[in-house]
C-alpha cells in the first residue's frame, strides 16, 4: 500500500532540514523503504508497498498436563476461544497452536508515528502548547497528513489530528487542500509548492545563472530550504559602490541579504545582484525595488563605517580591546593580543609579524566588523593597508583567521602563517589551561577547528617547530589526534602508516609528512610488507626475551659465519652510509628483506650459549632501532593480518 506522511510546521530553519530527513529515512514502515522530501513548512515521507498487515504467526500455548484429563483440556480450549479439537496432547501436556493474526499496518503506524515524529533530534527545540511538559519540536506543528492507501492513519500530536488536508504556499496557495496519495504532489504544485528540494535547487540554479549570478553552493542550499516556490530576479545598484572593497560588497550581498553576486569578469563585481524570492514572480517590480533599497541602505552603512572607522587608526585601537571580552575567565582581547604578540616573539616571528599580531584584533572595535562580523581580519587587513602599514603586515592581518576550514588554504605569507599559528595556539593553550577542552560534540570555542588550523599551517607551511616545543600534556595529545585526522582524512594516508610514523617519534609536522610520504611510496613494493612482518617478529622476540638494549655493539667474534655474519655486515655498512633521504633510506631498508629472511631461516636466535644468544638479540635490537627511525614498521598492518 502507498503511504504518505506530511508534517506541516511553521518555518523550519533551513540548515536543520537535511539532518531531520536523514532521521526520517530510518522510519519503520514495516519494511517499506521511505522516500523523503521537504520544504521549510513540511517534512514529507512517502513509501510504496507498505504491507497491509504484518504476517500471521503461530504461537504455541502450553495447556494442562494430559493427566488432568479431557475436561481440563476443553476448559483450556474455551479459555483460548477455540474448539476443543484444536487442543492436542504433546509430551505429557495439552498444547494449542494458536494462529495470531498480524496487526494491521494502519494500527501499527497510528501507534508508532507520533513517537517517531517527536523523536526527531533537533539542535534546539521549543514547546508551544501544554507548558514545558508539552511536546517539543523545532517549530510548532500545525497540520499532519497521514495516509495509508485511501485511509487516514489516525493519531494526534500537540492537539493536531492527522488527516488528509494539506496547505499550499502561504500567500499564493490555498489554506486547506484535501489530498490523496496520488494527487498530493501535483495538488501542492497547483498551490505553488514545489515539494522536491532538488527541483527547487535546479530552478534556482538555472534562473540565477541565466541572470548572470555567480553560483555559490552554500547559498544555493540555503535558498533551496527557505523557499517553497523559488523565483530569481535581478536587481541593480549604483556602480559608485564598487569603490568599496569587493570583500565588503560580497559579504553584504551573500551573508546579509542572501543574494548571489554578479561578476562582469572573473573576480570583478558588476553592479547587479540576483535575489531569490519565495513567490512566483514580480510583475510590478516591487520586490526588485524593495531589495534594491535595502541593499543601498546596507551599502551606505558599509560606506559610513568605512569612512568613520578611518578616523581612528588600528594602532590607536589596541587599548579599546580591553572592552571586548575574549572569554570571561581569560579576559579581554587586549589580554589575548598581548599573549599573541609574546607568542609570535617566542616563535621568532619578524617585526612585521609582531606588528601584525599587535594590530590583528583591532578591527573588532570598528563599526564595520561590529556590523559584518564575518569580515573580521579581512577588514583589519584592508584598514591596515589603507593606513599605510607595509604589505607583509596588512596581508598577515587580512589572512590570520585562515584556514577557516580543512578545505581552506593557509595564509599565503610567512608573517600571516606565524600570526595565525600564534593566534590559534594561544586560544588552545588558554582554553586548555582553564579546563575548556572540547568534550564529545561540545566544542563552543571551536577548538577543534583551531587545532586543525595549527596542524594544517605547520605541515603546509613546513614550519620548523617541533610539536613538543609548542604543546604539552592534554593539548599535545589533542594536537596529535588532530594531526592523525588531518593526515588520514585530508591527505589520504592509511591509519597504520600514520601510526607507524607517529610511533617512530614526534618531530616537526613537516618532517612527519616527509616520512609518511616516503613510507606510503615504499609500501606497495614487494619487499616491504614481508619486512614489516619480520620487524613485528623481531619486536616479539625481544619482548619475550625481555631484552634490554644496553648500548653494546655486536661482538663480531661471536657471529656465526653465513646468514648471521652476512646480516651484521649489511647492517654495519648501512649504519656507516648514514643515508638521510627518507625515500632512499627506506629503499635500502627494504633491501634487507632477503638477509633477514635467511637469518630467520637458518639461525636459531635462542642459542643455548647465553653469550651467543645475547649477541644475537643485540644484533636484532640494533637492526630494529636502525629501521625504526622513519617509521615503526611493526605498526604496519600486513596483508596476512588483514585476512585474519
Amino acid at each position: 500500500m502507498n503511504f504518505l506522511l506530511e508534517i506541516g510546521t511553521e518555518e523550519i530553519p533551513h540548515w536543520m532540514i537535511p539532518a531531520a530527513l536523514d532521521q526520517l529515512a530510518k522510519l519503520d514502515l514495516l519494511g517499506a523503504k521511505p522516500t523523503l522530501d521537504a520544504s521549510p513548512r513540511r517534512l514529507v515521507v512517502r513509501a510504496s508497498e507498505v504491507p497491509e498487515r504484518m504476517p500471521d504467526r503461530e504461537e504455541i500455548l502450553k495447556g494442562p498436563p494430559v493427566s488432568a484429563g479431557e475436561r481440563a483440556a476443553s476448559g483450556f480450549a474455551k479459555k483460548q476461544g477455540v474448539d476443543p479439537s484444536e487442543v492436542k496432547p504433546k509430551g505429557g501436556y495439552y498444547e494449542l497452536h494458536k494462529r495470531i493474526p498480524g496487526r494491521r499496518a494502519i494500527d501499527i503506524l497510528a501507534e508508532s508515528l507520533p513517537t517517531a515524529i517527536l523523536a526527531i533530534q533537533w539542535p534546539k527545540t521549543m514547546y508551544w502548547t501544554g507548558g514545558k511538559l508539552g511536546p517539543r519540536f523545532i517549530r510548532p506543528i500545525r497540520w499532519i497528513v497521514a495516509l495509508l492507501g485511501e485511509q487516514i492513519i489516525p493519531f494526534e500530536i500537540a492537539g493536531v489530528k492527522s488527516g488528509n488536508i494539506t496547505r499550499g504556499h502561504r500567500q499564493l496557495g490555498s489554506y486547506s487542500i484535501p489530498v490523496g496519495i496520488a494527487d498530493y504532489e501535483s495538488e501542492l504544485r497547483d498551490n505553488f509548492v514545489i515539494l522536491s528540494s532538488s527541483e527547487r535547487r535546479e530552478k534556482i540554479r538555472a534562473e540565477a545563472f541565466a541572470l548572470g549570478a555567480k553560483i555559490d553552493s552554500a547559498l544555493l542550499e540555503t535558498l533551496t530550504f527557505i523557499t517553497e516556490y523559488p523565483t530569481a530576479i535581478r536587481g541593480d545598484f549604483d556602480p559608485a559602490y564598487l569603490e568599496l572593497p569587493s570583500e565588503v560588497l560580497t559579504t553584504v550581498m551573500r551573508h546579509h541579504q542572501k543574494y548571489f553576486a554578479v561578476e562582469s569578469s572573473p573576480g570583478v563585481l558588476a553592479p547587479h545582484f540576483v535575489a531569490v524570492m519565495n513567490t512566483s514572480g514580480d510583475p510590478e517590480g516591487l520586490v526588485k525595488t524593495g531589495n534594491e533599497r535595502v541593499l543601498r541602505a546596507r551599502f551606505n552603512d558599509a560606506r559610513f563605517f568605512w569612512d568613520t572607522d578611518q578616523h581612528k587608526k588600528l594602532a590607536d585601537r589596541v587599548e579599546d580591546l580591553a572592552h571586548i571580552t575574549f572569554q570571561a575567565k581569560l579576559g579581554s582581547y587586549k589580554d589575548k593580543t598581548e599573549n599573541v604578540v609574546a607568542l609570535v616573539h617566542e616563535l621568532a616571528g619578524n617585526e612585521y609579524a609582531q606588528r601584525a599580531a599587535l594590530l590583528s584584533k583591532c578591527d573588532l572595535t570598528t563599526g564595520m566588523v561590529k556590523e559584518f562580523t564575518d569580515l573580521q581580519g579581512i577588514v583589519g587587513g584592508l584598514y591596515a593597508k589603507a593606513q599605510g602599514e607595509p604589505e607583509p603586515v596588512w596581508r598577515a592581518i587580512y589572512e590570520h583567521y585562515k584556514p577557516i576550514s580543512m578545505e581552506d588554504s593557509i595564509p599565503s605569507t610567512p608573517e600571516g602563517q606565524i600570526v595565525s599559528l600564534a593566534d590559534k595556539l594561544d586560544t588552545l593553550r588558554s582554553c586548555f589551561s582553564i579546563g575548556l577542552a572540547p568534550t564529545g560534540s561540545k566544542d563552543p570555542f571551536a577548538l577543534r577547528r583551531a587545532a586543525q588550523g595549527v596542524v594544517k599551517i605547520l605541515v603546509e607551511a613546513r614550519l620548523g617547530y617541533r610539536l613538543d616545543q609548542l604543546a604539552s600534556g592534554d593539548l599535545r595529545d589533542f594536537l596529535i589526534d588532530r594531526m592523525q585526522h588531518y593526515f588520514r582524512e585530508i591527505r589520504g594516508f592509511k591509519y597504520d602508516e600514520v601510526n607507524a610514523v607517529l610511533a617512530a617519534g614526534v618531530t616537526t609536522l613537516a618532517d612527519m609528512e616527509d616520512r609518511l610520504k616516503a613510507l606510503a611510496a615504499i609500501r606497495p613494493t614487494e619487499n616491504f610488507e614481508p619486512l614489516a612482518a619480520s620487524c613485528k617478529r623481531i619486536r616479539n622476540i625481544l619482548k619475550q626475551a625481555e631484552f634490554q638494549p644496553d648500548g653494546a655493539s655486536v661482538k663480531s667474534d661471536l657471529l656465526e659465519s653465513g646468514p648471521e655474519r652476512n646480516l651484521a655486515n649489511h647492517l654495519a655498512a648501512f649504519v656507516h652510509e648514514g643515508e638521510t633521504d627518507y625515500g632512499r633510506r627506506l629503499l635500502k631498508i627494504s633491501a634487507f628483506r632477503p638477509h633477514v629472511d635467511l637469518f630467520f631461516d637458518k639461525v636459531l636466535v635462542n642459542a643455548p650459549d647465553p653469550k651467543i644468544r645475547a649477541n644475537r638479540l643485540t644484533l636484532l635490537s640494533n637492526l630494529l632501532s636502525e629501521f625504526s627511525t622513519i617509521a615503526d614498521f611493526s605498526e604496519i598492518v600486513t596483508t596476512g593480518e588483514q585476512k585474519l
Binding site: 521549543m126 502561504r170 499564493l172 524570492m277
Partner: protein
C-alpha cells in the same frame, strides 16, 4: 500614502480587533518593548493576556548623531503579546501587514530563523526575523523562559520596527525623510534629540555619576524587593539596565565590570520575576 502616525494607528486598531488591550508606552527608559512590565511580567504565570503598545526604545550605543539614515538612538517598536499564542498566529500577523496596505501577493515574505535572548532579563525564545523584500520588518518570538522561569503559556511576541516599515511604505531612503504627520517629517520631530542624546551618550554622560546612580537604583530595587512590591522594584531594574547601556556606550566598562553588571541586573530582574510570581499564586488558587 499613509504617514507614520496612520500606519501606527492602523496597526493598533488591527490588534485591538484581535482582542488586544492597547497600552500606552511605558514611561521608563527601556532598550526594547520586551522590557516593559506589560511583557516582562505579564508573560509569567498561567493567566492569558493580549496586549499591543508602541514603545520608544533607547539604545545609547546605536546613536549616530543623526548622521546615519538608518540608525537611531531611539526607535519606535510596536510590541504585541499574544498569550497563549493562537494556532493561526502567523496568519494573524500576515493579515496585520495587509491591514497597513502591504499586498502580500505582490511581495516576497520570508521567515528566517532568529532566536532571541536577553541575558540581563533571564529571557529567551525561539523565532524568526520576518523579511519583506529583503528588509527585516519584524521580530517574531515564541517566549520559552522569562526571568529565569519556564513559561506556563507560551506567548507569541511580535515586534515591528515602525521606522523601517514606514520608510518601506513611503519609499524613502532615510528614516528622517519619513512623513510623520501630513507636512511634518520624522526629522522635524526627532532629529534634535538624536543629535543631542548621541552627544550625551557618547561624550557627555558623567561616568562616575552613572556608577553612583547604578548603585543607588540597585539599592532601591533591593529594598523594594524586600518590601515585596515587584512593580516599583521593576522600574529600578529598568533604570539599572539603562545605566548599564549608558556606561557601555561611554566605553566605561572593562570586561570584568561588564560581566559583573550584567549579573547584577539579571539578579534583580530574576528577583522581581519571583516576587511577582509569588503574588500571582494566591490569585491562581482563587481561580482554581
Amino acid at each position: 500614502m499613509d504617514c507614520f502616525q496612520d500606519t501606527v494607528s492602523k496597526l493598533k486598531r488591527y490588534w485591538a480587533g484581535c482582542g488586544c488591550i492597547i497600552q500606552e508606552p511605558y514611561d521608563v527608559e527601556v532598550g526594547a518593548g520586551t522590557m516593559c512590565p506589560e511583557t516582562y511580567l505579564r508573560v509569567l504565570g498561567p493567566k492569558p493576556y493580549r496586549v499591543a503598545y508602541v514603545q520608544p526604545s533607547r539604545r545609547p550605543a546605536d546613536g549616530r548623531y543623526g548622521e546615519n539614515p538608518n540608525r537611531l538612538y531611539k526607535h519606535q517598536q510596536l510590541q504585541v503579546i499574544l498569550k497563549p499564542s493562537p494556532d493561526n498566529v502567523l496568519d494573524q500577523y500576515l493579515a496585520s501587514l495587509q491591514a497597513i496596505g502591504i499586498d502580500l501577493i505582490k511581495h516576497d515574505i520570508k521567515f528566517e530563523e532568529d532566536n532571541w535572548e536577553a541575558p540581563t532579563l533571564g529571557a529567551w525564545g525561539i523565532g524568526w526575523q520576518v523579511m519583506l523584500d529583503g528588509l527585516e520588518i519584524t521580530q517574531f518570538t515564541y517566549f520559552q523562559q522569562c526571568g529565569g522561569l519556564d513559561l506556563d503559556l507560551v506567548p507569541a511576541e511580535i515586534t515591528y520596527g515602525l521606522e523601517r516599515i514606514s520608510a518601506f511604505l513611503q519609499g524613502v531612503e532615510s528614516v528622517y525623510d519619513i512623513e510623520w504627520a501630513p507636512g511634518v517629517k520624522y526629522s522635524d520631530v526627532r532629529l534634535a534629540d538624536e543629535v543631542e542624546f548621541s552627544r550625551y551618550n557618547f561624550d557627555l554622560a558623567n561616568v562616575d555619576r552613572l556608577w553612583r546612580l547604578l548603585a543607588e537604583h540597585e539599592a532601591e530595587c533591593k529594598d523594594l524587593l524586600a518590601a515585596k512590591v515587584p512593580l516599583p522594584a521593576y522600574d529600578q531594574v529598568l533604570k539599572c539596565s539603562h545605566l548599564f547601556n549608558l556606561l557601555d556606550a561611554r566605553g566605561a566598562l572593562s570586561v570584568t565590570e561588564r560581566v559583573g553588571v550584567i549579573k547584577r541586573v539579571r539578579d534583580l530582574a530574576v528577583g522581581v520575576a519571583r516576587v511577582w510570581m509569588d503574588q500571582q499564586a494566591p490569585a491562581q488558587q482563587e481561580a482554581a
